[in-house]
Amino acid sequence: MSSHAAETPSRPAAPKARDRQLVQRPDVLFRRCVTGVVIALALLWLVPVAWALDTSLKAEPDTIKIPVSWAIPHLTLSAYSLDFSATDIGRWYINSAIVAVIVTVLTVFTASMAGYALSRQRFRGKPLVYAAILAGIMIPPQALMVPLFREFQSVHLINTYWALILPQVPAPIAVFIFKKFFDGQPIELDQAARVDGASWWTCYRRIGLPLARSAVSAVAIFTFVWTWNNFLWPFLSATNQNMMTIPVGLGTVISGTGIINALQMASAVLGALPLVMVFLLGQRQIVEGVAGTGLK
């Protein structure tokens, strides 16, 4: 019998170590470049934040010294205490919290139900309804401000929580995200539940929604952040100091007291603090949500 080695076509020789290095070099270089760019972008974002924090901890005269310096000659929290004593920031915090939490809960609830129905149920006019919702994504919110304002003014709801909350609840993009997410869930789970005797509501509540946890987290976190930061609509609908949210209130700090750098920066830091906490607490869900839903 002839030997095996003679019959089997010889394998290509394993690449030598030097060749391997040559092959891997572009990959390593690319990764280093990407890391460098990411660090540069992160610094670009981080420097103003660090500067705000730095300024808020300085005494006011130190904030206008030339040359500009990162050094803090006299560390003080006076800007923060002034913020609480001279402004209604506590009230604005409460307003922002109420509005952001309720808007988040209602958005997740309504958008997930709409997404579930569009994904799972068959009903007349479904494509039209879905197209109308998608069209909503394309309308800039600014275009709706005047009609919305007139609408809420006509029903005497300006300067109420209703005015701050209701227009921020409908979120076509959230409906789209939930629909896509439910489309990805095996339909057999709902069918099994229906055969098991569950109603559509039970299917949604006990099967669909618990399995859409990452979509719920993503939509909830981003809705909260977006609502907390939203300026334009609260600025129009809450003219009363007591009804202002943080971003609107911060605007009055600037215009009402002249330019006090430390106070401005302390207000900005306080305003952003809850969002930083939300990010720190929900970091994993944010990453999962961005990866799973494409939301950012």
Binding site: P186, E188, A192, R194, V195, D196, G197
Partner: protein, 393 residues
């Protein structure tokens, strides 16, 4: 327990596709009815119509003497086992099994008792607090069964429940399933494309093709008396040998030799549309090795063939013979051309297979002598594919 009756059941999808056409089927109380056929034959659609997951376009569906066409799934009192099990991944085995009972507002203590009992039957007691993701394929399959059993429904609907298991586990679970169904005596409709499952599990088997029911019969009857070429080709592994044959006066000239027309064959030809040409079918096990036969019965047909491929199956050989082009069965009626993805596999029309005992002295490339009894021949009409003969078992 209950009877299920399908009367002229039809499913037409929005795009006009006719998935199931005028399906008439009566499933007796406690019976295990198998719906079998190649992919796209409408068997799963029929099952989904029974479950209420698919609207019925036409016809009537009766469960336990009640017309249920417009009943939602939850009001039909049936349980379904899905191909991918459809276990709720965020719930434990216990919660999965309790879900249906909770929907029926069964008392909590009663739910606990039933779940415990069912878990014992299915050997799942130690896994009750695990989630489906922590279970093996076989255990998941048992949980899916448990979820159906625990509700004690009027009927079980099973959509290829064993197809996700490996071959060994599938055989094991098939036996287990037969035992449980026997024990519970619940009316069951079982969909599969696996003819071995169909033959071993079913009380009766309904063969479907392109949305149309071909034949309903016991597995044995289906195998021995197939209604048409499709059923003959679909049931049996290896598939039945189908060959064209010419009728000349008192003789049937087949590629395997001339067969004298006896009364049975004459009657058969009288029932056909054509009298000059037919298709004959012969099961691989009806071809015998002449070298192992001491005395052949009278009237047997003998022929010699060269073995082109030999498959050793352990207890027997599958010997393939190349008969040449002139014998091939027309593509229009050859079931192998219809059976997309079916387990029978595609066979060339010019390929003849014989199941020979392991003590046969058979080798690839060698010629051997085979014989068969004409009584085992099935004769089919070449135009309609209808079987014309009453074949000998």
């Amino acid at each position: 327990m209950s009877e299920i009756a399908l009367k002229g059941l039809t499913k037409r999808f929005d795009d006009g596709t006719l998935a199931v056409e005028d399906l008439n089927l009566e499933i007796g109380d406690g019976e295990l009815m198998i719906l079998v056929g190649p992919s796209g034959c409408g068997k799963t659609t029929a099952l989904r119509m029974i479950a209420g997951l698919e609207e019925i376009s036409d016809g009537e569906l009766w469960i336990d003497g009640e017309l249920v066409n417009d009943f939602p799934p939850k009001h039909r009192d049936i349980a379904m086992v899905f191909q991918n099990y459809a276990l709720y991944p965020h719930m434990t085995v216990r919660q999965n099994m309790s879900f249906g009972l909770e929907q029926a507002k069964v008392d909590k203590d009663e739910i606990a008792r039933k779940v415990k009992e069912t878990a014992e039957i299915l050997d799942l007691t130690e896994h009750l607090d695990r989630r489906p993701g922590q279970l093996s394929g076989g255990q998941r399959q048992r949980v899916a069964m448990g979820r159906a059993i625990v509700r004690d429904p009027k009927a079980f609907l099973m959509d290829e429940p064993l197809s996700n298991l490996d071959a060994k586990l599938r055989t094991q679970m098939r036996t287990e399933l037969a035992r449980i169904q026997n024990q519970l005596g619940t009316t069951t409709v079982y969909v599969t494309h696996d003819q071995i499952e169909a033959m071993t599990l079913g009380d009766r088997v309904a063969v479907m093709r392109r949305g149309i029911l071909q034949q309903v019969a016991s597995p044995r009857e289906l195998y021995e008396q197939p209604a048409n070429l499709f059923v003959a080709g679909f049931m049996g592994s290896p598939a039945i040998n189908l060959l064209t044959a010419q009728v000349e006066s008192d003789t049937l000239r087949s590629p395997l030799g001339d067969v004298a027309l006896d009364r049975r064959l004459r009657d058969a030809l009288e029932h056909g549309d054509r009298t000059d040409r037919v298709i004959i079918g012969l099961r691989p096990e009806h071809l015998q090795d002449a070298a192992l036969t001491e005395r052949m019965p009278d009237g047997t047909v003998t022929f010699s063939g060269e073995v082109s491929v030999l498959e050793a199956m352990g207890a027997e050989y599958y010997a393939h013979f190349d008969l040449g082009d002139q014998t091939s069965v027309s593509e229009a009626i050859d079931p192998s051309h219809d059976a997309e993805g079916d387990p029978v596999g595609r066979r060339h029309g010019n390929d003849l297979v014989a199941r020979l005992p392991i003590n046969s002295d058979v080798h690839e490339g060698n010629s051997i002598k085979l014989w068969f009894e004409p009584g085992h021949l099935h004769v089919f009409d070449p135009e309609s594919g209808r079987r014309l003969t009453e074949a000998k078992a």
